[in-house]
Every structure is written in structure tokens, then in C-alpha cells.
């Protein structure tokens, strides 16, 4: 696309001389392309590296030091059980989060949006504050909560310290204030008359929630699910802090172990593992672009 072809339908720069406008455009594109260079370079490297024997900068090198050295051997890890175990753990955390955050947020968000009960105001204010509050600093104390949970007979084996369930539970809790706040917003937008009609038709509040209201917030729930899935899939700090060893490691932790535990690091293999774990994310990235931009705006999740 050259600047000459670009018609300005949305922002007609009326009154500006054509030449200046053209220069401004060039400057804008130049700036934007420069700004995304680190991202483009980073992704280019990972793609080149996974398919080559060795890289120097962005250039693939063969054993003799020349350009080339194409190989698929970096992907050999897919035949290794460890990666599939890590992937299974990642999937478990992500899916548990989708369900956990989904259920707790739609139920809690509904009650906070539509029901009158003692403590509603207090809960709402608390949700708001927790939503802005970053909980990373609580991890030290959550460590002890998880150890206690681990001491509970039977349940402890699934949700305690050094268990995938425990990691999932912590992740669910940390995403919950955001989830509740989002879902409450979606419920706030639904007409009251529909709910009143259902109550008069004989439905209980639970039935109203499940059969009438939930189907109306499906787009919101889908967005929240996508968001929590990505958060769960990418989770690093919480699983890294609360798990030991490879058996319970999820993909990011597994990858980090691969980087730090092997010396010298085989960067090309590491890159391949990294790209491998990004496959679902790249699929979302390609197919839900509009939704993603919206989620991260409404999600108010920054770092």
C-alpha cells in the first residue's frame, strides 16, 4: 500500500496542502513501523530459530557458519512425554479457570447486579477495590493458605501446595474480582422487565439466572472465558511459586526450567517449545482480533 492510494474517508484532513498531508502520512507510518520493530524482530527470531540449527542475530547458521542449516530437529521434543505433561497441566489450569471464574463470576455478578441483600454495597465496593488492587504481593501469605489446604484430608491432595488444582484455585481467585465486575456490567445492561416476566411466569431466582439471564450474557461470558483461558494458559508467576519439579509444571514453568536448568541453553529448541505453547494464542489472535482488542479494553488488565 502506498500513500497515494490511501483515501482518507474517516479523517479528511481538509485545508492541509496535499504535500504536507503526504509527508505527515509517511511520518506516521514510519513511526508506527519503527515502533513495532522489536515485536516483529522478536517473533521473526522465534520462527527462524525453531527451524534452524543455530542462529546469529536473525540469521540462521549451519554447522560451517554459513547461512542455512534448516532443520526440524528442534521439534523433537513433541515425542517427549514431559512436554505433553506440561501441556496437560496448562490445559487443566486454563480450563479450570474458564469454569471456575465463569461460574463464580456469573453467579456473583448476577447477585450483585440484580439482587437486594444485606452486605451488597460492601461486596460491591470490595470487588471494585480488589479489581484495581494487584494481588501479586499476597503470594507470600497465599503460600501458607495453600499449605493449610494441603493438610485437609482428601481435598488437600487436589488443591494444596505443589498441586495443579491449588495453582488453578489461586489463579481463579486472582482473576475473580475482574470477572465479577465484568459480568455485573453485562447483567446491568439487561432489561428488568424480562426478569420480572420470568418471575411472574413462576421461575425461581436460580431458574431466572440459569434459563433466562445467562443466555442473554453469552457474548460477555465468551469474552471473559477467552480472557481467562489466555491468562491461565500463560500463567507463570503463580505456578512457578507454588509448584516444585516437572510433574506439576505447566508450559511456561517447563519452558523456564528448560532455559535455566540446561547449560548451555539450546536456544533453538527453547524457541520451538515457546512457539509450540503459543499455538492456541496465535489461533485466537488470528480469529478473534476484534474481540481481543475489546476484552483488553474492558478487562482493564494492565501490567
Amino acid at each position: 500500500m502506498t500513500t497515494a492510494e490511501i483515501s482518507p474517508p474517516t479523517h479528511p484532513v481538509a485545508g492541509l496542502p496535499k504535500a504536507r498531508e503526504k509527508m505527515g502520512r509517511r511520518f506516521a507510518y514510519g513511526f508506527l513501523i519503527l515502533s513495532i520493530m522489536p515485536i516483529v524482530v522478536g517473533y521473526s527470531w522465534i520462527v527462524v530459530a525453531t527451524l534452524s540449527f543455530r542462529t546469529e542475530g536473525l540469521l540462521p547458521r549451519n554447522a560451517e557458519g554459513g547461512i542455512g542449516g534448516f532443520t526440524l530437529s528442534n521439534w523433537d521434543f513433541v515425542t517427549d512425554g514431559a512436554i505433553w505433561n506440561a501441556m496437560f497441566n496448562s490445559l487443566l489450569i486454563a480450563v479450570a479457570m474458564v469454569f471456575g471464574v465463569g461460574i463464580a463470576s456469573t453467579a456473583g455478578g448476577y447477585a450483585l447486579s440484580r439482587m437486594k441483600f444485606a452486605g451488597r454495597k460492601a461486596f460491591l465496593s470490595m470487588t471494585l477495590v480488589l479489581h484495581a488492587f494487584k494481588a501479586e504481593m499476597l503470594l507470600i501469605a497465599i503460600f501458607f493458605v495453600l499449605r493449610w489446604l494441603g493438610d485437609i484430608p482428601i481435598i488437600g491432595n487436589f488443591v494444596g501446595f505443589n498441586s495443579v488444582g491449588g495453582v488453578a484455585l489461586v489463579m481463579i481467585a486472582l482473576e475473580l474480582p475482574l470477572g465479577i465486575w465484568l459480568m455485573k456490567g453485562f447483567f446491568d445492561n439487561l432489561p428488568w422487565d424480562m426478569e420480572r416476566a420470568a418471575l411472574i411466569d413462576g421461575a425461581s431466582r436460580f431458574r431466572v439466572w440459569w434459563q433466562i439471564m445467562l443466555p442473554q450474557v453469552r457474548p460477555g461470558l465468551a469474552a471473559l472465558s477467552l480472557f481467562t483461558f489466555i491468562a491461565g494458559w500463560n500463567a507463570y508467576l503463580v505456578p512457578f511459586t507454588f509448584t516444585i519439579g516437572t510433574k506439576v509444571a505447566n508450559m511456561p514453568v517447563f519452558l523456564n526450567q528448560l532455559i535455566s536448568d540446561t547449560a548451555p541453553t539450546n536456544w533453538n529448541q527453547v524457541a520451538a517449545v515457546g512457539l509450540f505453547q503459543m499455538i492456541p494464542l496465535l489461533i485466537f489472535f488470528i480469529f478473534t482480533q476484534e474481540l481481543l482488542l475489546n476484552i483488553y479494553a474492558g478487562g482493564s488488565k494492565g501490567s
Binding site: 484532513v13 481538509a14 485545508g15 505527515g24 506516521a28 507510518y29 513511526f31 508506527l32 522489536p38 515485536i39 524482530v41 527470531w45 546469529e56 542475530g57 536473525l58 540469521l59 463470576s105 453467579a107 450483585l112 440484580r114 439482587m115 437486594k116 441483600f117 451488597r120 470490595m126 471494585l128 477495590v129 480488589l130 494487584k134 494481588a135 501479586e136 499476597l138 507470600i140 501469605a141 497465599i142 503460600f143 489446604l149 484455585l169 481467585a173 475473580l176 474480582p177 446491568d188 489466555i230 500463560n234 507463570y236 508450559m251 511456561p252 519452558l255 524457541a271 515457546g274 512457539l275 494464542l281 489472535f285 482480533q289 481481543l292 482488542l293 482493564s300 488488565k301 494492565g302 501490567s303
Partner: protein, 333 residues
């Protein structure tokens, strides 16, 4: 006019003395119970992972609990941890680092670059703007470990580093490892900024796009230049989103440390890029000094948690989120 109860069968109204105090109370209890049933999972999780840890953190900071004396936990040692914290030789450095990290990242990336990106991408054709914003979203979507791996690879020493290959010797020592040698702060801020900027960018973009087109057209008719339109019309109109991002991201940067942990672990050397949140985490969890000092780590954490909590409450008040709260228009019977 409360009339005596007559047994009715054809109205579908169940018999039951409505005036009795007990039945009223029972209904009220049941209505509240229903609401708490919905709230149940959320309440349990918030209690277990926010309220209890918050209290625990405070309690811990007054003990000397560590992996060295785990057999004799919870012995009260008063404010020893706090005096130790403030007399720590590296305390001033960590404080300076934290302030530098938060403000530099905020000004140049999370606020500054975010605003520039939003302004530029809304002033070019729609689809092109969308494309660039989408690419900018990638870092946020990338798992932190992979993301940091990319930056490490960019900053690595010759012959592997990409930066050294493209522009040799521009930042710091030529050919050396940039994030562990030449300019660690540059890389710490770049890695955080490239994730942080996209949030502001998205928020500012939607704010800019909601400015009525008539306003811009009117300004153009008046002969205003692009720069004047931005300065006199657009910026004043997105004042609130700007303030929102500034406070939200301050809070966010203050407590986040994941990327620094992955990139430099606070190094190179002693506390070069160590921020407050990372110190708290490392004291408690890494056997940096051969011992997980949970209580001392908790002390660092509780100070930061208190600051974050005050900021969060202030932020909720500032943006009057409470006024968004509406009374439910169905009352439980």
C-alpha cells in the same frame, strides 16, 4: 384492612398467615440465603485468597518465621522486621529503583507512547490503524517466559544478539550482553513498556473515536491545524481516560515484578534493577541468602500492600465507581 384468612383454592395463592412475624422473617432469611447462595463461590475464594492472606501477611510481619526456624514458628518479635527493613543498606537503593522504574515506564510507555500510538493510529485509515494496534497487542498476549526470551535474544552478546548485529555499539558496551551488561534498565523498561503501552493505547483509542466528528470538522473549518486540534480539542476531551490510565498503571507497575524476575532477577550485581515488589518476593521465596525469610518478605510485602490498598481505594473514589452502583429493581419476597 387486614382481613381474616379465608381458605382459597382457586387463586393459586398458597395459604399461610402473611401477618405472622415468623413467616416474614423466614422469607427475608430465605431471600438473603438465595443471594448468598449466588455469592457463595466468590465469597469463599475472596476470603481464602484475599482476606485471610491479607491478615496473615500482617501477622507474619511481626514474627520471625523462616525456613530456618520452621519448627518453632510464629514467635512474636515486635517491630524488629520493620526496623530491619528501614535500616537495610540497600533500602534507599531499592526505593530509588522502584520510583525510577514506575515513573519512567509510566511516562514514556504506559502513558506517553500509549497516547502517541492512539493519536497516530486514529489519524490514518481505519484498517491500517487497526492493524498496528493489533500488532501492539501481541506482547500482552505472549506468555511472559516466551516474551522475555525474545528480549533476551535481542539483547544478547555477540554473535547471538540481534540488536548487536543490526546496530552494533549503540547502547553500552559494544558486542556485550545488553540486559546484563550495558544498559539493564533500558531493557527492564522496554520489556514492561511494550506490554504496558497497549492497554493505554486501546483505552485512549476508544475515547478518541467517541469524540463527535462534528467537533473535529468544526475545528477544521475554523482553520485549526492538526496539532491544534489535538492540543485544544482531543486532549482535553480524553482527560479522564488519561487520569484513569495514570493511576491504574501506577498501581500496576508498583506491584508487578514478573518481567524483571525473568529478565534480570534484580541484577546484574547487587540490586541494580531490584524493585520493592521483587525484593519482597525474593526474600520470601528464593533461597538467595540460603534461607526463605517468609516473615521478612511479608514485612516488605505488607508495606507495599498498604500503599497499593490506599491507592486502590483512592482510585475507586476518584473515578466515582460507587456511583455506578444501582439499586436492584426487583425486591425479593
Amino acid at each position: 384492612m387486614t382481613q381474616s384468612l379465608e381458605k382459597e383454592t382457586d387463586t393459586g395463592v398458597p395459604a399461610g398467615d402473611p401477618t405472622s412475624q415468623r413467616s416474614t422473617l423466614a422469607r427475608r432469611v430465605r431471600a438473603t440465603a438465595t443471594a448468598y447462595g449466588f455469592m457463595g463461590p466468590a465469597i469463599v475464594l475472596v476470603l481464602l485468597f484475599f482476606i485471610v492472606p491479607g491478615i496473615l501477611l500482617l501477622v507474619l510481619s511481626f514474627t520471625n518465621l523462616s525456613s530456618a526456624n520452621f519448627s518453632d514458628p510464629w514467635s512474636y518479635i515486635g517491630f524488629d522486621n520493620f526496623s530491619r527493613l528501614f535500616s537495610d543498606p540497600f533500602f534507599p537503593k531499592i526505593l530509588r529503583n522502584t520510583a525510577f522504574y514506575v515513573f519512567t515506564t509510566l511516562i514514556f510507555f504506559n502513558l506517553g507512547l500509549a497516547l502517541v500510538l492512539a493519536l497516530v493510529t486514529t489519524n490514518i485509515p481505519r484498517r491500517a490503524g487497526f492493524f498496528f494496534r493489533l500488532v501492539w497487542l501481541l506482547p500482552r498476549l505472549t506468555p511472559s517466559v516466551v516474551y522475555i526470551m525474545m528480549w533476551q535474544r535481542i539483547g544478547q552478546a555477540d554473535p547471538f544478539g540481534i540488536y548487536n548485529q543490526i546496530v552494533p555499539g549503540f547502547l553500552g558496551a559494544s558486542g556485550g550482553n545488553l540486559f546484563l551488561g550495558g544498559s539493564p534498565w533500558t531493557f527492564v523498561i522496554l520489556t514492561n513498556g511494550f506490554v504496558g503501552a497497549s492497554f493505554g493505547m486501546i483505552i485512549f483509542t476508544s475515547a478518541l473515536e467517541s469524540i463527535p466528528k462534528d467537533l473535529i470538522t468544526a475545528a477544521k473549518v475554523d482553520g485549526a491545524s492538526l496539532w491544534r486540534i489535538i492540543r485544544d480539542i482531543k486532549l482535553p476531551l480524553i482527560k479522564w481516560p488519561l487520569l484513569f490510565i495514570a493511576t491504574y498503571q501506577t498501581l500496576s507497575l508498583l506491584t508487578s515484578f514478573e518481567y524483571i524476575l525473568l529478565l534480570t532477577e534484580g541484577g546484574p550485581g547487587l540490586f541494580t534493577t531490584e524493585v520493592w515488589a521483587l525484593t519482597a518476593y525474593k526474600r520470601a521465596f528464593s533461597s538467595y541468602f540460603g534461607n526463605s525469610q517468609w516473615a521478612f518478605g511479608a514485612t516488605w510485602a505488607i508495606v507495599l500492600v498498604s500503599v497499593a490498598l490506599v491507592l486502590a481505594v483512592g482510585y475507586v473514589k476518584l473515578f466515582k465507581f460507587n456511583e455506578l452502583i444501582e439499586e436492584p429493581r426487583i425486591e425479593n419476597l
